[in-house]
Amino acid sequence: MLQTIRKQFALSRMFLILFLTGMGIFMFLPIVFLFNNAFKPLNELFMFPPRILVQHPTLFNFEQLFMHTAAGVVPFTRYLFNSFVVALITTFAVIIVSTMAGYVLSKHRFHFKAFIMGAILIALMFTPETVSIPRYLIVSGFGLKNTYFAHVLPFLASPVAVFLMKQFIDQIPNPLIEAAKLDGASDMYIFMRIIIPLTSPAVATAAIITFQTVYMDVEPSSLYMSKETMKTLAYYVEAVSSNIPGVAQISIASSIGLLMFLPNLIIFLLFQRKMIQTMLHSGVK
């Protein structure tokens, strides 16, 4: 009896794994495609319909990329540097700022709390295209054009991250915080020692999505930056894929597609572990 149940259990788990593997392969195709695309020679890039796997891998595309940028005013590495600096600073800042805001909105009582929450909920919905002109006016009004601040500050107002944090912090039981307060812990201590460790899955999620949005976004570069040295890789990609006609374009685009994607993947893999780390040992439950 027990054995048959165990056998059934193992069988259903086998099916589950098989099903998810099939699903996973289907969903994973674009990444495989992207990796292979970057190493395809020209004749394979122009093949239609495109083959997913590369037959004669070559580094030609990357050569093209470096040749092209060497001729330009700003070397390609400068864009890469800007992208990294901006994305890392923004991700870090967004996590701190939104965890602080989420903690207060979840556990403190004060006037305007409901009002601020309502504003955040509405702000989740707004399409950024429609506010780009007013945003431009504000950025240039503060004199932030051509500074890294203009890259970072607009993203700090991230209702998604705050909402996510608030939702997670809601789950931390109030007695835990009250006990800490009774023991004489200050708000700062509670925040650093209780809130941040316990929200690590949410922090990881917020980090992944923030990094992705910042890294992929072209708006600050195209609107607030007039100096070429302040623009990011995402802007360069867009410029390359829309402005330069000719054969070089598709090979550059395919190699840069991989470069755009890799940091996302790395960040995801880094934080994924953290996210999956169980909270069971952390003392809440």
């Binding site: 319909p49 004060f110 295209e129 429609t130 500050l153 997670f168």
Partner: protein, 325 residues
Amino acid sequence: MKPVTNTKNLVNSSSLQNSYRQRIRLFLRECWSTRLSYLFLAPFLLCFICFVIVPVIIAVVLSFTSFNGFEFPRFIGVSNFIYMFTQDVVFMKYTIPNTLKFAIVVGPGGYILSFIFAWLIHQLPKSIRDYFSLALYAPSMVAGVALTMVWTATFSGDSVGYLNNILLSLGFIETPQLWLQDPKYLMTIMMIVTLWTSMGVGFLAMLGGLQTVNTELYEAGRIDGIKNNLQEVYYITIPSMKPQMLFSAVMAIVGAIKAGSVSSGLTGMTITPQYAGHVINNHIYDYAFLRYEWGYASALSVVLLLLSYGIMQICYKLFGTKEDE
């Protein structure tokens, strides 16, 4: 008699003033005593006011004007809205039905799919979980690039397109179908592609949420007579991860309503054939960046905002936790 009433009034008004003053003083004192909360909130709130609230207010104001981006906006009252609902044929005939159809399928569909997959992945042994979540999250990481290359090749209209090729060789169709140009299919294809990319933020949040469910609850539930997995999910898992469920629901709705680039990415045109895949964001893009009617575009986005706010209120009622619960 008169002076008496006067003094009475005077007393009344002065006490009223006093109480107002007292109330303001109390209010300020309360604000001061919670100053630490405001301090914690300050960095976010300042940025939020500067880069979200003020721009949104400007956009709302612009929706009552005629503004082409160059000249100073001219106030025209509510005529933008009147035009939208009475004369904008495309908006009433294609945009609204398409947006609703798209949002109803993709929003809840993507939501349910991401919960199912998050839950299934959670059933796997810990050692291999990461690989599966990576694979499922992959499409939303590369959406832009893969969208144009993989899917346009799949649904290409000639006989070498993947789907046509398969269907032709299996004998389901006689001649190649113009999948992306035919208004009949475009909407369905858009939905499939969007569902494929929908394992995004919500999926990640749910995966995180599943970790936080207290495992002792499952044992307790088993003692209380929960028989199968479905009951377990319904009675224990979902209630324990309400915040994440709400977050992903909101993200699903926002994503579904905001998605507009799918159609242009697939067809290569901003305006899809016969407006088959025309959703509200395409409409906004059309008016804002092709016709430079910023006033009307702002009015459209205000309508979009009201629409999504209404839907979200319903969600919040469904999943929201009450204060001080």
